[in-house]
Amino acid sequence: MPPVVVVRDLAKTYRVSERQEGLGATLRSIFDRTYRDVPAVAGISFEIEAGEVVGFLGPNGAGKTTTLKMLSGLLHPTAGAARVLGHVPWERAHAYLRLMTLLMGNRTQLVWDIPAADSLRVLQEIYRIDDVTYRRVLSDLVELLELGPLLHKPVRQLSLGERMKVEFAAGLIHSPAVAFLDEPTIGLDVTMQVRIRQFIREHNRRSGATILLTSHYMDDIVALCKRVLVIHHGRLLYDGGLADLAERMAPHKLIAATLHDSAAGTDLSRYGTIVGNEAGRVTLRVSRAEAPEVTARLVHDLGEGLADLSLQDPPIEEVIDRVFSGEALPT
């Protein structure tokens, strides 16, 4: 089966007008506008296979949303090419629109004044879903999202979390083969984030839909995505397994050594940088290359004094944070 999403050198540059502050500059700008080109996406390429759940990581302004908008068909790219399910997204062919969805956590597509059930009926007709399919998909969504009591209240009376669940139902009622989710858990409390995550995972398992999602919450990505795309300043820094990300991006590892009372107080700073020390458990940061050797030396030197030893990758949040702050670069 060919990849569902194929992106080649996709780029988008926005043209923004700019002026200095102050009255003089304001008056001048009326007659002589200056523009600046802002590259939001600077030529990225990747492919996504059917049924994959891929996480799109990057700080604000990295180009994530712009990419999702191009792939869903809202934005014309400045350069490059993309095909989703064989369609050029920005041609917005109805045949394509029926197969995909774009859900944005901070935007609503429901009518505020009427219950969601009625909005869903409208969508049923717009997407020409037959009654049997509609009832089956809706009952699945009602079950997975626990929508029962929410469907018959006017949307404006729903809480943020409840509304997001209903938005999901509206976005998925036509069983799209591809779903672009932009910050689907933004602003939700922890419990609701967990619920939405469970839903996305279960929906992917049941429907086999291909999902590309962005999130600021690493927990979303860790829970859902085996593969991540890391984008920064519009460029793709990493494309691969989440597990390998730390290996590629973090130049160091963490060694956690738990000491018996006999060895308590031993100075371990000669083995590496101490980043944690509590209740007999010392955490050392060592360079990735030296990690095996340092581990062996610790075992040798401390001998019986060592109660436990583990070698870990740094937390994924920390890795990402270092990448985005420019401290770590892909190797």
Binding site: G73, H76, L97, R107, V111, D113, V122, E125
Partner: protein, 264 residues
């Protein structure tokens, strides 16, 4: 498509039902402007010995009542909302559904007209009785009124969307909208029946599209023109509708392209 329309109607009527008092008040206020002109022209006619051109005070009453109905049935307010839709990005989800965004506003538009027609007719009946309105309407006029009002509504709707589409390029389009409304006010027959305008303005009015939006169906409803003139005027409506439709297609396509290049 028909099923989508039906579903949109059901949802739209529910939505409208929540604002019924606001809607009714709005309709009642919309009667004020034509009635002021009616009162003024009736006073002028009475002062000039009973007539202005071919119009007696009772003819003016008939004309302005027909005109108010026509204004109501052809109302299009898209540009007001569309500007916000573009600016706030609410257009985006609509663009990503397999239904042209214009259809939503067609339905909204029809619902508004249907739900607010009863209070309007009640108020107009009262005014007709007060002013002793005279109609020369024959059954043939009523038959011709049907295509004429449909064409006028479609024309005003699509022309309104042409103006609204400017929102793709400009953040604020109220100036363009006001310009359109003011020009329509003069040339569509609101300030006076077109047949009473000075000859040069009359010619201009028959060449421009505005008269085909209001004056033509209003005169047919009042029975103010013969059947053959009515048919000629309906022909004019068809031409203007075709031209406006073609223009909107071009403008809309270019607009959506701009929208999706600057950051939808």
């Amino acid at each position: 498509m028909i099923r989508a329309y039906r579903a949109l109607f059901v949802a739209g009527i529910q939505q409208a039902a929540q604002y019924r008092i606001q809607y009714t008040l709005y309709v009642l206020f919309s009667v004020i402007r034509p009635i002021i002109f009616l009162a003024a022209w009736a006073a002028v006619a009475t002062g000039q010995g009973g007539r202005v051109g071919d119009f007696t005070a009772e003819d003016f009453a008939g004309y302005y009542i027909a005109l108010t109905i026509v204004i109501h049935l052809t109302t299009a307010w898209n540009s007001l909302e569309f500007e916000l839709e573009v600016r706030q990005g609410r257009l985006s989800p609509k663009l990503l559904r397999p239904l042209h965004p214009l259809h939503y506003s067609v339905v909204e538009n029809i619902i508004w007209k249907v739900t607010t027609l009863p209070p309007l007719v009640a108020v107009l009946a009262l005014i007709a009785w007060t002013f002793g309105a005279r109609f020369a309407t024959t059954p043939l006029h009523l038959v011709l009124f049907v295509p004429s009002i449909v064409l006028a509504a479609a024309l005003r709707f699509l022309a309104g969307w042409c103006v609204a589409s400017l929102a793709f390029w400009f953040t604020r389009i109220q100036t363009a909208n006001t310009l359109f409304d003011r020009t329509a006010f003069i040339f569509a027959g609101s300030i006076a029946p077109i047949s009473l305008l000075p000859p040069i303005l009359q010619t201009a009015a028959y060449v421009m599209p505005f008269g085909y939006m209001l004056f033509v169906p209003a005169e047919i409803l009042r029975g103010g023109v013969t059947a053959s003139v009515a048919l000629l005027l309906i022909g004019g409506q068809v031409l203007w509708l075709a031209a406006t439709f073609a223009l909107l297609r071009v403008v809309w396509r270019a607009g959506v392209r701009t929208y999706s290049s600057v950051g939808a």
